[in-house]
Amino acid sequence: MTSVQAKVDDRRRAPASQVGARRRALTIAGLILGVGIAILLSLSFGSRTVSMAEILEGLTSWAQGRTPAEIGAIAVQERIPRTVLAIIAGAALAVSGALMQAITRNPIADPGILGVNTGAALAVVCGIAFFGITSPYQYLWLALGGAILTAIFVYNVGSVGPGGSTPIKLALAGAATTAALSSLVSAVLLPRTAAMDTFRFWQVGGVGGADWGTMAVIAPLLVAGTLVAFICAPALNALALGDDVAVGLGVRIGRTRLLAAVAGVVLCAAVTAVAGPIAFVGLMVPHVMRMLVGPDQRWILPLSALGGAVLLTLADTIGRLIGYPGETEAGIVTAFVGAPVLIIIARRSRIKGL
């Protein structure tokens, strides 16, 4: 190759990569701004709407560890834990969805659609009903176990036969499993009024019941899962080219898949354990990010985390507004926003793969 031609190639490549870089920078800036705005909105709206001054007062007094005098500032303090939970739960769910989509090369892989949430729910219900479990710390491990088993089951049923896991097979396997498991959940719960009381607050996903203790328990899992996800990102890029090419590029595909899958399931199971089943965050956010910054997992994964945080925090705030004076769980809001996105994905002609 002559140096002239190399220069021509460089010139041809340069503008495109510059556009890509500018676009990425804009996206990152927009998402960070979005997180800030979402936090502000989440702190200010609710059954009592507060002013900017009250938010400041609430935050400063919270930082100093004292109880503020005004009721508005107290309301702000009450909203701090749920805002934090919405941010970390949204981020974890979105990263989990991005990982699952990357591993399965299937555009509709999402913890909710794969039935992972219902699997976690059944495990938790059995724990409450048969073993008298009440502490969230024990829920967590049950939810984790149930989620992992369900994910493995659904993925295997959905990838039987030639062509591997097509979106339609995966969606049907997930829907059937969800139907069976939720019937079992009802069957376990109906005879036990006490268990029903404990569980019904958990059944619809939401961040209203946030408290620092349970968040502290899942925090290490979330951090570990996210780190593994980011470390796997380059290998996942290679995986997107097909197994043969990935092996040729020196990626250990079995280990990468396993690590990324464990990280993805742990992330969504940990969130499900504290916040209940929240669907469609993991489906929507990675798709939007892929549209904005292209198919590079090294960008998709961190940006999905930001996008998921914005989405779930806003969904929680919207839920508080439309449910006024009570509140509507964030899981209901995300399902309502998410289904149209699923339809758009299904309508795209090249549905078979990413």
């Binding site: 049907l172 059937a176 139907a179 009802s186 069957a187 309502f336």
Partner: protein, 352 residues
């Protein structure tokens, strides 16, 4: 010479074909009779069994309008409407399910899998639980919502090549969205009433009353015969639009009628009992095993639907210490079959 050898051959073949036809139609009639007897037996069981078991004479006396102490209330007010609504809803779900499955040539395309029941259920729960409307008004709103859902799914899935798989995928998405509406409505209801919630989440015959028998009965009495009348055209449609047209079927006309009738049956039944899981989906494939290919499945599938609902309700009432709503039982029994069907279709190569 050729005619000499061909003639007996042809005659033999004709008798063979005729014998096959007769055998198949006899098999179909036998299946229908057995299923009809089973439905009647299940209805009687549903009426007689319970905490107190009433003998046939008491039940007959109640039916004649005589007042029998105890039995008049239990049988006349509680069990009779329950049995009738169970049977009617089963007929409606079964007939509607097999119509969709045959028309779309896909066993997975039943109204409960592709989200039409969810549409009717969401409308019904909003009207009954949130707005506190009457039963009849609710029926019509549920009907409109079901038709609108079906139209939305159809429009969203139109265009492009493989409509079948896409229709199901979109249906599942719309179903998830409408289920969110149901959860929302149940939460907004004044108190979190477990019975009401279970009814709209999984379908239940608890709280069946005489008032709801009549609208559902009229709907089944009008729409089921319509589907049966159109069953010949439906079988022609299964061969593809071109073949159906050449057989003299007005394809678009018939298709719209079939969809409307099937959606309406689903909606009326759902507005009465809630979305009883998987009955519409299961009835068709089960009877097609019993009856075999090549004959209309509408009547046997409707009867099978009624058998499924009534059997599941009896299991739910008596098999365990707790009374489970019928939808929980059909959900637990039906979902594994869906998974099995999915695995079998995938093994043979692609379900989309």
């Amino acid at each position: 010479m050729t005619t000499h050898t061909a003639m007996p051959d042809l005659a033999a073949r004709t008798t063979l074909v005729r014998a096959g036809r007769i055998r198949r139609s006899r098999r179909r009639v036998i299946v229908i009779v057995i299923l009809a007897v089973a439905v009647l037996a299940l209805i009687s069981a549903e009426i007689m069994l319970g905490k107190t078991i009433y003998p046939v004479s008491d039940v007959l006396a109640v039916m004649r309008g005589e007042s029998v102490p105890g039995a008049s209330f239990t049988v006349g007010t509680l069990r009779f409407p329950r049995a009738l609504i169970g049977a009617l809803a089963g007929l409606a779900f079964g007939a509607a399910g097999t119509t969709f499955q045959t028309m779309l040539r896909n066993p997975l395309a039943s109204p409960d899998v592709i989200g039409i029941s969810a549409g009717a259920s969401a409308a019904a729960v909003v009207c009954l639980v949130v707005l506190r409307w009457s039963g009849t008004a609710t029926m019509f709103v549920a009907l409109i919502a079901g038709v609108a859902t079906a139209a939305a799914i159809y429009l969203a899935a139109r265009g492009g090549e493989s409509t079948g798989g896409r229709l199901i995928l979109i249906g599942i998405g719309i179903g998830a969205m409408l289920d969110a509406v149901v959860s929302f409505a149940i939460q907004r209801a004044a108190q979190w009433d477990v019975a009401v919630a279970m009814r709209w989440l999984t379908g239940s015959l608890n709280g069946s009353r005489w008032e709801s028998v009549l609208p559902l009965g009229i709907a089944v009495a009008v729409l089921l015969p319509l589907l049966v009348l159109l069953s010949r055209e439906l079988r022609a449609l299964e061969l593809g639009d071109a073949a159906a047209t050449s057989l003299g079927v007005r394809v678009d006309h018939v298709r719209v009628l079939l969809i409307l009738a099937a959606v309406a049956l689903t909606c009326f039944a759902t507005a009465t009992t809630g979305p009883i899981a998987f009955v519409a989906f299961l009835a068709g494939p089960i009877v097609s095993r019993l009856v075999g290919h090549g004959s209309s499945l509408t009547i046997p599938a409707a009867l099978m639907g009624a058998c499924l609902v009534l059997t599941a309700d009896l299991i739910g009432q008596f098999a365990f210490d707790t009374r489970f709503p019928v939808g929980v039982i059909t959900g637990i029994l039906g979902a594994p079959y869906l998974l099995y069907l999915l695995i079998r279709t995938s093994r043979r190569g692609g379900s989309s």
